[in-house]
Amino acid sequence: MPPPVSQMLAALMAVAAIAFPALGEAAAAPGDAATDLGAPPEVPTQSSPLTDPLDSPRWEDMRREFFGAAPVRFDARITVTAPVNAEDPLNVPVSVDASALPDVREVVVFADFNPIVKVLSFEPAGAAPRLGFRLKLQQSSPVRAAARTGDGVWHVGGSWVRTSGGGCTLPSVGSASPLWQQHLNEVSARLWPGGGYGDRLRLRIVHPMDTGLAAGIPAFHIEELAVSDRSGKPLMRIRAHEPVAENPVLTLDLNKGAADTGPLRITGRDNNGNRIDARVLP
């Protein structure tokens, strides 16, 4: 039987502390793990201002990476709807909703245990702070959304998704066939005006969204996307990262009447500089 994880961790910390004193100090800050191999490492309650409702050992890393010194709180007013079990790790449907929060400026979505943690972020300038999309998951992980409100506070919600894994290191379907090249960045879309949520826009863009983690296939993914109205006023800006699923499908709730003055414009580019430019008629 292998030794308990806590002991192995403590031993690793000890090695790290000797080889990289600075790293050891930062990583083992709260405890005496380096000297006391028998005791499990203490939970750093002092350095953690809030308790992660998803109980993920990665939360502190996530907090540092995404929010630094900014104020953060877990908040039930931002929800992440996703299946408990990812039937398809290449296409995990996720819907983020921060519309119960006032004055949302930006929303960031990330998955603690993905090899590429950041999934996407969006700025809902003329839209509800909501977004539906699909992502690739490499292993079971919390999927979180954090909304920054006008006062500079980050509000975090999320849910666990279990998966058999492999979503990020598998080659895209597109990478195995040259067919997509003729259709790269083609947009299909439809607008559902009115309804309870403003003007709903759904769109699909043909793109392999290669993560760079499948052998011999470099990262190739959409980076920027914007939806604007006829006058060029931005309604939604999205920054996409590698974990967004192949041929991204997005669901947006634009402010009511956004499309009344004429066609909406969808623009963007991928990391190779290929442009996206399409018009959607109401």
Binding site: P93, S188, R202
Partner: protein, 338 residues
């Protein structure tokens, strides 16, 4: 449930009269005239699927699995398998989810009859239907061509996943691809008048086996009974057409792929109605502009809710089927070629 004693006795006597095998090979079998489930040696306590063949007609046996999803508790025994005892051999319909299951199925058959297995059919390429193949003579393994191709292409990935889902029940399980190709039509084997139907819709190819003497239809996973159908490789329109074909057969009993045996076409009608509802619901969700995550949370109709795994299978089906419905709902936007 054990079969009525008189039927078992009749079947066993019939086999004994045919004198198909030398006495030595009967050592493991039950003596003629006694209940075969009583005289058998006790199987090992650990990883025991407790397979008890249920006789549903003369020489026709079914092993009904749990109405559950794969788990380390059930070891993957969520599937129905069956066998038909002829005058000179046994025809096996599906081999179960693991090597252990295959071995225990083989032992269960040996408790019923000493006759050799002469044909082992995999009805389709889903792992609970072929991962017991190792326990059967490789020269008897047979399937439709698309099923053989499916097992060869996806078998190992399925097997890996089954280890994750079922744990140590799967030990030593390996994929064995059938070599014999079955074609649709009448098939006389081991003294049984059988018929192969090559249908599809649950997967690319779903084999249905009819035993004409007993008017029994082994309907494979085209039919589910009080258990929500699974759709990872489904073509719902084709599946419903296949169910129409099945419903028109003159048969006395139907063995679904999952769920209990039926004496009428109720499970066919119910499966067909569910697929119709599923297809319509997914199409309507996509046409109404719903996001996939929103479609997942839709409540189920009252008549489906009591079925085993109704909620979880519906959610899985949305993930399988929604993307295609969505592509139909979204139109190409203008100016898409920069």
């Amino acid at each position: 449930m054990s079969p009525p004693r008189s039927l078992v006795a009749a079947a066993t006597v019939a086999i004994a009269l045919c004198g198909a095998l030398p006495a030595s090979s009967r050592a493991q079998g039950a003596p003629a005239g006694s209940s075969p489930t009583v005289a058998s040696p006790a199987p090992p306590a650990a990883f025991d699927y407790r397979l008890v063949p249920q006789q549903i007609a003369a020489g026709v046996y079914v092993l009904v699995g749990h109405l559950e999803d794969f788990s380390p508790q059930n070891g993957g025994n969520i599937v129905n398998t069956g066998f038909i005892v002829g005058t000179s051999g046994v025809i096996v319909i599906d081999t179960g989810p693991s090597k252990r299951y295959g071995e225990q199925l083989r032992a269960a058959i040996a408790r019923v009859t000493p006759l050799p297995v002469v044909l082992t059919i995999n009805t389709h390429h889903h792992p609970d239907h072929f991962l017991g193949n190792q326990a059967f003579p490789s020269e008897t393994l047979a399937a439709l061509p698309e099923v053989i191709a499916g097992i060869a292409a996806e078998g190992n990935a399925f097997n890996d996943n089954m280890y994750r889902l079922n744990g140590d029940w799967m030990r030593d399980t390996e994929v064995v691809v059938p070599r014999l190709t079955l074609t649709p039509g009448r098939l006389s084997i081991a003294g049984r008048d059988l018929e192969v139907l090559a249908l599809g819709g649950h997967t690319a190819a779903d084999l249905v086996l009819i035993d004409h003497a007993s008017a029994t239809v082994f309907a494979s996973d085209l039919v589910f009974h009080e258990r929500a159908p699974t759709t990872p490789h489904a073509d719902l329109a084709r599946w419903r057409t296949s169910l129409d074909t099945l419903g028109a057969l003159q048969a006395k009993r139907w063995v679904p792929g999952h769920g209990k045996v039926s004496a009428d076409t109720t499970p066919i009608t119910e499966t067909r109605a569910y697929l119709g509802w599923l297809s319509e619901t997914i199409k309507r969700s996509a046409e109404s502009g719903a996001d996939m995550a929103e479609a997942l949370t839709r409540p189920l109709p009252a008549e489906i809710r009591p079925w085993a795994l109704a909620e979880s299978e519906y959610r899985r089906s949305v993930i399988h089927l929604f993307p295609a419905a969505e592509r139909t709902a979204l139109a190409p936007a203008s100016g898409t070629r920069p």
